[in-house]
């Protein structure tokens, strides 16, 4: 059978963000896959150098819509390290609480996306309906559903009242029940098993070799979790397990994420019930002394690394973000090869890709062929010409 090359993306219903996968197909099976990055490059690291530390906070938050708290926490830990600020304990606890709430909302979102990619729309609708509960919690505590902006230099911006605590605990209780139902549903429904088991295999040695992080690595039996390996915030005081699974396939990633949800609920209850007393923020000067700092953070998708260099002014000299998806994308090409075309969306979704996180640098290879870049005016002229040939005149518009 002749081979055909199918482009999956940059515009494709399975991908929520622009990214390109070139798949070489033999019938329904994939004999080769290449990942092309760079469709979502926004020049954020450069933009961060033009803004003050406090303005950067809101810029870094927008690196990614789902792990917005992860990025700001990682960034702000760097800033506070450089400024030698003593962040109050209560602020750290609230940051950890948001981190876990964010993990819950990200994993529930992933569960829905996985359901959608395997064509199980009922699972998609149910999980996203229940995800509203945690989004409501976040809105209640921070004032927004996605970009919580809870972090500020030296602490957090909003305190948690007793009523808010009760409300969050009530909703977490509901989510616990639902999550147990989804775990049963996903591990017992035969069509889900048929679609996820032995799909997108990533053996342990390959996972280590390609530097997989987060749930992708943990589903290959690699117990790698920054929260345990090098506890930040108040994670050393919390009681939780690192979930691993050794099936090395999409099913394992599903189980790992579902069980991590349960761990997160546990942690949220622990944090809320033992919230330390005290102030929620200290003052941090506008100008930060020269220095360098690197920090990592366990984002819902895996290890997120931020590097920050300050030069004594109120603006950073250099900021570098290594998002978890970039680490995991190396494994995607491996997982796709030899699989079925039908599994491609699921395998890609299984690492929970976040392209807007990843595209921080773009490399373009001009040797691939002649590239012609059309500007807006040229495109407009061409389309007007195209329609004039069909008898429609758009020149006056």
């Amino acid at each position: 059978m002749s081979k055909i090359t199918i482009p999956l993306g940059p515009q494709h219903p399975a991908l929520k963000e622009p990214e390109n996968f070139m798949l070489v197909l033999e019938g329904e099976q994939i004999s080769g896959a290449t990942v092309n990055l760079g469709y979502n490059h926004r020049g954020m690291e450069k933009a961060a150098e033009e803004r003050t530390y406090i303005q950067d906070l809101y810029l870094i938050e927008r690196v990614c819509g789902i792990c917005s708290h992860s990025h700001t926490t990682c960034y702000i830990t760097n800033v506070e390290e450089l400024a030698k600020a003593e962040t109050p304990k209560r602020a750290l606890a609230i940051r950890a609480l948001f981190g876990e709430l964010e993990r819950v909302h990200s994993h529930l979102l992933w569960l829905g996306v996985a359901g959608y990619e395997m064509g199980f729309e009922t699972l998609f609708m149910y999980t996203w309906r229940d995800r509203e509960q945690v989004l409501d919690c976040l809105e209640l505590l921070s004032g927004n559903r996605v970009h919580y902006s809870i972090n500020t230099l030296g602490g957090v911006r909003r305190d948690i009242t007793a009523e808010q605590k009760a409300e969050v605990l009530k909703r977490i209780q509901y989510l616990k029940e639902r999550t147990n139902y989804y775990i049963k549903l996903a591990t017992e429904e035969p069509t889900v098993l048929a679609r996820t088991q032995n799909v997108g295999k990533l053996p342990l040695d390959v996972a280590i070799e390609r530097g997989a992080v987060g749930p992708t690595a943990r589903a290959s039996g690699l117990a790698r979790d920054v929260r345990k390996d090098e506890p930040y915030l108040i994670y050393n005081e919390l009681d939780f397990k690192v979930i691993t699974h050794d099936s090395c396939d999409v099913f394992g990633r599903l189980v790992v994420r579902a069980l991590e949800l349960v761990e997160s609920y546990k942690m949220i209850e622990q944090i809320l019930n033992n919230l330390p007393e005290g102030p929620i923020a200290v003052k941090v000067p506008m100008r930060i002394a020269p220095g360098e700092a690197v920090n990592h953070y366990e984002a819902p998708r895996g290890e997120d690394i931020h590097y920050l260099k300050s030069n004594g002014t109120d603006k950073p000299e250099r900021l570098k973000v290594r998002a978890p998806t970039l680490a995991n994308l190396q494994s995607v090409a491996y997982m796709l090869e030899g699989g079925w075309l039908a599994d491609v969306p699921l395998v890609i979704a299984a690492i929970d890709p976040c392209m807007s996180c990843t595209d921080r640098a773009a490399v373009w290879d001009p040797k691939k062929g002649k590239t012609q870049v059309y500007g807006w005016e040229e495109l407009r002229k061409m389309s007007i010409e195209q329609y004039r040939r069909r008898g429609v005149d758009f020149t006056r518009l």
Binding site: L25, G27, G119, E121, T122, Y126, E189, T191, A342, P345
Partner: protein, 314 residues
């Protein structure tokens, strides 16, 4: 008057107009039911009609590399074949409009034509997605067609006739035999779901794998008629299953017959919608496995049972 009446049958009821309006209505019922079962609101009742009219007004784009004449003609072939099939299926009377011995086979073959046009549509539009989609259409055809036929043969053997009208009349006369067809009915429903390319068998146009599958390059009016043909196929498929397994209108005619027909097709639509929400989409090779390993033997068992029953009844 004598010559006008059949024409009215074909164009108005139960022909083209009824099929189009009812097909779109069933599409809404299906979408609404799925939505309610998924705890959503679902579209308002006029959504399919509004979509239909809106798509009619849209521009038709024919790809440069496509076989233009075939590309344009295929949707109408699909629609015509589906409409022709309805002529031999009883809708509001115990007998069909034009019934002859062996029309069951004719109906099955007429219902295969839309699938073949889907394949040709994908193949002639030459884009990678539609090529993969059309390959899947054909592969899937080989998977569900045999169980569907086997499932429909059972009642035919029992009734001792190859005419849809006579089969339905037979079951209307012996309603006690209807429950005995449960296995075949289930197999036929699942195969019908495959034929209509709905979840979990919407593999040929699985949107998150191959975008629009065989319809990727279709737009405007042409896409509209293809989608209408699929909706009509839903009505015809439901009517066929109703006539073959559930005794058609149960011997009623006129308004009562229409009522029975509507209730039963709505019920079948509900079952199909239920199938849609219960499962994840399976892979094409899993579908073939499933159809040949489980569905075809089930249908075969029904045929064997019907032969046994027939010998008992004499």
């Amino acid at each position: 008057m004598e010559s006008i009446l059949p024409l009215a049958y074909i164009i108005v009821f139960p022909g083209f107009l009824f099929l189009a309006v009812y097909g779109l209505l069933l599409q809404w019922v299906d979408r609404k039911l799925c939505a309610v079962m998924q705890n959503r609101m679902g579209p308002p009742w006029f959504q399919p009609y509004a979509d239909f009219i809106k798509l009619l007004a849209k521009e038709v784009i024919v790809p440069d590399y496509a076989e233009s004449r075939m590309f344009r003609a295929l949707p109408f072939f699909a629609m015509a074949a589906v409409m022709t099939a309805l002529v031999s299926i009883p809708v509001w009377t115990p007998g069909a409009l034009f019934s002859f011995q062996g029309d069951l086979i004719a109906v099955i073959y007429l219902l295969t034509i839309p699938t073949v046009t889907f394949f040709l549509a994908g193949w002639s539009s030459t884009s990678p997605y539609s090529t993969v989609g059309s390959m899947r259409v054909l592969t899937q055809l080989f998977a569900y067609e045999v169980p569907l036929m086997l499932a429909l043969i059972g009642p035919a053997i029992l009734a001792g006739s190859w005419s849809v009208s006579e089969i339905s009349a037979f079951f209307a006369a012996h309603p006690s035999l209807i429950p005995a067809q449960l296995l075949g009915f289930g197999a036929a429903l699942i195969a019908l779901q495959g034929k209509l390319e709905r979840l979990p068998f919407d593999i040929p146009h699985a949107k998150n794998e191959i975008v629009g599958g065989q319809f990727t390059e279709y737009s405007g009016r042409l896409l509209d008629f293809f989608l209408l043909a699929v909706d009509m196929e839903l009505v015809v498929g439901a009517a066929l299953v109703n006539a073959v397994f559930l005794g058609g209108t149960l011997g009623l005619a006129g308004l009562a017959g229409v009522g029975v027909f509507l209730v039963k097709t709505l019920f079948i639509t509900f079952l199909l919608a239920l199938l849609k929400v219960l499962m994840a989409r399976i892979r094409i090779e899993q579908m073939i496995n499933f159809c040949w390993k489980y569905l075809a033997p089930v249908a075969m068992a029904q045929v064997a049972f019907d032969i046994f029953l027939k010998s008992k009844l004499g």
